[in-house]
Subunit: 214 residues, 2 copies
């Protein structure tokens, strides 16, 4: 199955700016993207990047230069809908997986793909939609706000069935510094390595788990 | 399998005090406990409460009065270790499941129990240990701080194998008001109903999901 991964180098992960510079955020975003691409490949699927403008070769070891890339400078929602248009042209199913899931594994993605339904969803923490498998041409996305709820509602209105995968790994998108703790605890790929190399570590000194930078 | 659920009525869920009164926190904690007890029963297991002092009959519809109860006024870690002592007396396996998991379902608990290993863990967000299945008498718990990491390390030192379940539902313990969003989005039991009755609802007006109280 073709798995489309939306990504941008334009000021990525802006909510991390209290702790990372612009250049660092780009590096870290690329590292997480590499983890997602690798998980997709290991699950036996075909990754494809969806970007607003061509990205330069990464050199992050993720072999991104061999990943087919679609360039669409519209906002996330119309760009993803355009890609899903292939479902009207004979493609049976497609997946959309966010690029900021450094805990994604082949096993977790396989579980998502094994969920039945015209639409299979991996909800993100805080009501987002971190991954979708779409099998119905009539479905369209809306990534603004509480997209998990909105996607369920839209499917119901269209008479489409929805499956949900219960995965902490796919639910963990990295938006804020507090999310680093999850990557340090459960990751084993490029995203975790980047954080460790940048000096981040778990801080459990006050009895609760946070992060600190050396 | 016997599933032990530690619980206390003594100032429960103190980090919710910015938004809930003491009485409300007790009610909500009881509602979440009811969800966990029901999920354990629906998974075909036998719930048991572990409390520091006897609790009065709940009247929350969770039929807690029929749940076997062990009273131990020590802190969580020694009280749980005492219960796990039964593994030295011929019991093959036991589970410890936290009481603040209102998204727990029978399916999620069955997945935990199906994980192999001398110890099976459901990590909580932020490095906690939300649920454990223990099959080795030599394992002991330590719930302070980054307990997920500590439990893995302790198992490794003791030469025990560890399995991990990838479950957003079991990872979602409710400690802070922000966690209410997860309950409102994904719950369908007593915990969610209590929040709705108390006037909490999702707030997606600024493009991100929060909660508000009417």
């Amino acid at each position: 199955m073709r798995v489309v991964i939306p990504y941008t180098d334009r000021d990525p992960k802006s909510r991390l700016s209290p702790v990372l510079s612009g250049a660092e955020r780009r590096e870290f975003a690329r590292a997480m993207l590499g983890d997602v691409v690798e998980a997709v490949r290991n699950a036996g699927h075909d990754p494809e990047l969806l970007v607003p403008e061509p990205i330069d070769s990464p050199g992050s070891g993720a072999r991104l230069d061999s990943v087919p890339t679609t360039v669409d400078d519209r906002a996330l929602t119309p760009a993803v809908d355009a890609v899903l248009g292939r479902l009207s042209e004979g493609v049976a199913e497609m997946a959309i997986v966010m690029a900021d899931l450094p805990l994604a594994t082949a096993t977790a993605l396989r579980r998502l793909c094994a969920v039945g339904g015209d639409v299979a969803v991996a909800p993100g923490r805080g009501g987002g939609t971190n991954a979708l498998v779409v099998r119905a041409p009539s479905f369209s996305v809306d990534y603004h706000g509480a997209s998990y709820r909105d996607h369920r509602d839209a499917a119901a209105v269209a008479g489409l069935s929805v499956g949900v995968v219960d995965s902490m790994r796919l639910a963990t998108d990295v938006d804020e510094p507090a999310d680093f703790a999850e990557v340090l605890l459960h990751g084993d790929g490029r995203g975790r390595r980047w954080l460790v190399d940048a000096g981040f570590e778990l801080d459990a000194t006050d009895g609760r788990v946070g992060i600190r930078r050396e």
